[in-house]
Symmetry: C2
Subunit: 699 residues, 2 copies
């Protein structure tokens, strides 16, 4: 009988509404029913949901219900009195760290229940998502304690007020500024759910290349409408602030941070914002960088600028995230050195509600960079890490390149700032220098594409960012494994090869784009595809040729004492690992050293042969991913299988293009023959130079 009913139900469910294609919208919160054996195991511990009625606890209960209903194919009641097997949200546990939680079996009024206890509502929300993750990944239900190690876990949207997204490859902005505040897209709630599920507690709504308009009254109303959606999910809104807003909006003659009228304008603006949004997070600022205005325009330094804004926000509990991504158009120095040179002198001068937001590397989100020399160099300053989730330099919207290992590589990098073990993770989580205000920011890859991130696998970068901002010591492989299970399938025949493919993908991309520590070889402007030959732009550091410095004799950027000596910005023990080309990780070789083409690398090959071989391997690895994925067909819905297949085919083609164009260009410099067995580029160099992409997205 039961089977019959099930069969009838299936028929009715299948036909009562059109069959829904998998479109990736559900992300990792895809609560499809678990297998019967697992359901039998979990159901006795998920008979009901109990919890308070604050906005955030209401979110936690609704998410638990949504998740359990789906995963266990049941109608989970939300009740007010304990029953056997209930899940109980309890807050106010002052033994727990803020926003941490503990999940464990308890007896309540004589009933065996599972308690998610937390100090704060937000902690309980995170506990609820964690419990669901355990079921999604088919884990045995055991006691769990967890808490975020980093205080501010922030997503930066480079979204413009006209709806475009700078370096966005997944459609336009999810923030419909035009129709806000009247029309609030229900999608924003799903966005908040996704962010909360990975522990994100702050979102910067607008591009760091900011418009003053976002600080006008009408736009603050729009921001307030978004804040209202985010608040029940424990997420604060932040805005990128345009430095010259007091001039553009306030009619002042100056934006000098030491001018009392300027300070007064920002104070009044902060009052206005907080009257509307009492839990407003604060400002993100890109100042005196790439043409943006800043305190430097008035002869003031970054600390003077940041502190002026910080003073306006301080009474309201707000903070300033001040970006360290600066390079001067008047500084002929190695671009990799400039941020350090500007910020190191103001160490100790930043207000306590300022964080210095530092990119993972000193150039700009390359496939591989050594960690930024500012990490560990300013122990008195709140240093936070900025990584890019969107893949401006990593294949953009169409390449499968899982960035978890890249983030992990940065976080685990040892700065040696205070001896061995002074990892970037320990600096940004505050452990090394005992900072309470800590943070990690990721530049969003989210757009209004149905699957949020354009490429289905780019969801994993978003997910990994959140997990690593929560726990910077986590393993990117473990995270990938969870993501694959939650997003696609927990079948080991699927999980293992797909996670392996993901974990290898970043090295693959580094191989076909910028092997051996090369950087910034992308075409200019849109950064799509190879452009190593570009050498005619106004500023030297805008040119790919500036970074590779390839000529007839050799290749690489000498950042040792004989060159720019950027190495000297690192702690001696850190610098030492890269000082000797013979004794270093060769994946950073040409970042630090200019070497002759016939230099012998560890493999025994010449540098030239090694470089060409790496390009060749990268292209082959990219092509191989197609085979790996093709074998996964039985485990994936046809829609996502087809979309990923299509993107992998683009990636394989473009990896070959990268290989061929790069080899053609560098061969024009080295004049050397290709190693045996390496096929020549498909076209000549002029062909690759002739390619133009006026419609490349994201620019």
């Amino acid at each position: 009988m039961r089977r019959l009913i099930a069969a009838i139900c299936f028929a009715i469910a299948a036909f009562a509404s059109p069959v829904l294609a998998e479109d990736g919208y559900d992300l990792w919160l895809r609560y499809h029913p678990v297998e019967a054996a697992y359901a039998a195991q979990y159901k006795p511990h998920a008979t009901a949901i109990i919890g308070g009625d604050t906005p955030i606890l209401a979110s936690a209960k609704s998410e638990l219900k949504r998740g359990l209903d789906g995963l266990l194919a049941q109608d989970t009641p939300i009740v007010s009195q304990p029953v056997d097997g209930a899940i109980v949200l309890q807050t106010g546990d002052t033994n727990l760290p803020e926003d941490g939680f503990r999940i464990g079996a308890k007896t309540l009024d004589g009933h065996p229940v599972t308690v998610i206890s937390a100090r704060t509502d937000q902690g309980a929300l995170y506990g609820a998502f964690r419990l669901l993750r355990e079921i999604q990944t088919r884990a045995a239900l055991t006691d769990i304690s967890d808490a975020p190690k980093i205080k501010l876990r922030v997503i930066d949207h480079w979204d413009n007020l006209n709806g475009s997204v700078e370096r966005g490859y997944a459609g336009t902005s999810i923030f419909d500024w035009w129709r806000l505040p009247d029309l609030v897209d229900p999608r924003l709630t799903d966005y908040a759910r996704a962010e909360a599920s990975i522990g994100v507690n702050g979102v910067v709504l607008n591009n760091v290349n900011a418009k003053a308009d976002s600080l006008t009254a009408p736009y603050l109303q729009k921001t307030e409408a978004i804040a209202k959606v985010f608040r029940p999910w424990g997420i604060k809104v932040y805005l990128s602030a345009r430095w010259t807003a007091p001039i553009e909006l306030g009619g002042l003659k100056t934006a000098d941070p030491l001018d009392p009228a300027v300070q007064a304008w920002w104070n009044a603006k902060a009052d206005e914002i907080y009257a509307l949004i009492p839990d407003f997070g604060g400002f993100l600022v890109k100042a005196n960088s790439e043409g943006e205005p800043g305190p430097g325009d008035y002869g003031r330094n970054h600390a003077q600028g940041a502190n002026m804004l910080a003073a306006a926000l301080k009474p309201h509990g707000g903070i300033v995230m001040w970006r360290a991504f600066v390079y001067s158009e008047h500084d002929a120095n190695d671009r990799a050195k400039q941020a350090y040179n500007e910020f190191k002198p103001v160490e100790g001068q930043f207000a306590d509600n300022v964080l210095l937001q530092i990119k993972n590397g000193a150039i700009d989100f390359q496939p591989r960079e050594p960690f930024h020399p500012l990490f560990g160099a300013m122990p008195k300053t709140n240093e936070m890490l900025e990584v890019q989730i969107t893949k401006e330099y990593l294949g953009q919207g169409t390449h499968l390149v899982y960035q978890g290992p890249l983030y992990e590589e940065t976080l685990k990098a040892d700065t040696y700032a205070e001896g061995k073990g002074s990892t970037v993770a320990k600096i940004i989580d505050g452990a090394l220098d005992h900072h309470a205000l800590t943070g990690m920011a990721g530049v969003s890859n989210v757009g209004d594409d149905r699957n949020w991130t354009g490429h289905d696998f780019s969801q994993a970068d978003w997910y990994a960012f959140g997990r690593l901002a929560w726990d910077p010591d986590a393993s990117s492989r473990d995270i990938a494994t969870d993501w694959v299970k939650m997003t696609f399938s927990d079948d080991p025949a699927f999980v293992k090869p797909v996670v392996d493919m993901m974990m290898a993908s970043r090295e693959t991309a580094a191989n076909y784009m910028t092997p051996l520590g090369l950087a910034h070889q992308m075409a200019t402007g849109h950064h799509y595809g190879p452009g190593p030959w570009v050498c005619d732009l106004a500023r030297p550091e805008w040119n790919p040729c500036y970074y590779a410095k390839a000529d007839a004799k050799g290749i690489g950027f000498d950042r040792t004492k004989t060159g720019s000596d950027a190495l000297a910005q690192y702690a001696p023990a850190a610098a030492k690992q890269w000082a000797d080309p013979k004794r270093m990780d060769e994946r950073y070789l040409l970042w630090f050293h200019h070497l002759p083409w016939d230099y012998k690398v560890k493999s025994g090959r010449t540098l030239w042969n090694e470089l060409v071989t790496d390009y060749d391997i990268g292209a082959k690895q990219a092509a191989q991913m197609q085979q790996t994925w093709a074998a996964m067909k039985p485990y994936v819905d046809p829609e996502r299988f087809a979309a990923v297949s299509a993107n992998l085919s683009i990636q394989a083609r473009e990896a070959k293009w990268w290989r061929d164009a790069s080899i053609a260009y560098f061969q024009s410099k080295s004049g050397l023959p290709l190693p045996t067995g390496i096929a020549p580029p498909e076209h000549d160099l002029d062909y690759y130079k002739s390619l133009q992409f006026p419609y490349a997205p994201g620019h």
Copy 2:
């Protein structure tokens, strides 16, 4: 037992997957189960589906199955042998017109069945959609015969290759040119279904302000990928052609249509296209208009230009749609007259595979315009109608303005070209002058917003376009009624007030934007909101003041003999209806006449008082729509109810803004007091003039 099973099934269906919010994606193809009494009535006549296996018949069968499965909550088998109650697709009936169909009861091999018979596969597809519509609208199943009256039913996408949509208010383009041809969004199939369901059989993929790139080999591959999706739904793809492509792509020195090398280039390009896309539809061309290049640059006329392209397409069966929307930057003449002046002299000179595509009015998609004087003026020319579905001048993405009545007004307008009854409908369906090549085009309002058109009610404009292109004599009220039933609910308590609201909405918009025949009073560039004061642009006809000609004495554009005499471009009997301000439909009054402020209109009021009253009524009507909709809450899902409510609130606010700004401006001209009972504008004129909208969409 049955009830029990149903209850269990409901529970399982509800919890096995998250409850899906209504998001408008399904459009009017929302196949939710009909009420039990109706199901009982239809089910005996929908027991199975039978039909051939050509690509288009496969589409028809799959759509029938999808529709019947949903509407009747059953699993409808697709079978090969007749059974009682089957629906049978039969083609090859040469008694029927091309693409027409007949639906009726028959006996087949002893089985009572419903036969959808047609001459062509496409006719059968249309019959399938029609049968589904009958069930969706709860019609009694009777015999039906129908056939399209117009041959080319075409949607024009003003979509750019970078993904933006000119005059688009529903997100970015559904055509992801960047990731095509590898990645083909499954959404394109749903788009093709929607178009086919309303009889559309052609889609122009790119903006009339065209880039030559769309004619390059890589972009033709992308177009081919789209054609492959559209073909099984009976839809041909067309491209907008850039006149100077032979120069830009072919390296020629000229694009002179009489130059043999130019003709040869286009011939070769046509060969290249048809080798890839054998059923390619042809070209749409905007030439010598608003800065676009054209044959006029070489001293050639439009016919010489169009015919050169037509010659290239002719061997392949392709056609040219040549736009009549031209006005010269060197012609000081009334803009409303210029198209006629340019085209009338080349009457009889166009090749037989050219259609002249004429906008409904002589200016540009205004809330109300008299029909274009070219209609009926060129009986030897294939004249097709172009209407705008997107609402550039009708509230854009946020106003509920149903355009069915606007289209109907144009189609039913009598040109008197060959005596009474020479309606625009009869001209464009070929009846009047016995043309076989006929067409109607609509400028798309579709974007990648989840609900396709941004505003849920803007779906109705798309739907009405298709229905009227199929049958230009149809009633826009009947169409609205079908749409409301198919899209929302067939409950009479919902259908009647909502259809009434839709039918009144266009007059409402005309009242609050441009009453009494005013036109083009929108702000410049983005055309968002009022800008009647704008009078300083380089070209006179770019200025709203050019169209209203308001001064201290009066208002209106004199197009009679004492003015531009645009009236003389109409047939005398048509002109007569507008010649005398005292004896005309006053909704066209100021389009044709400049009158003193104290002129007495039919109501007995002065022109000034009438104008102000109309603005006031328009704003009140817009506000009233909110009340109407609020009462509909019980009949609508919460998601679409909220979205429409939000848009209506924007509309009410903006209608008041239009009213206030317009009254403030015209009062600054007339110097007259407001009529009794009319509230003064909320702000002074300077306030309205000061408003700036740099992020207005669609521009």
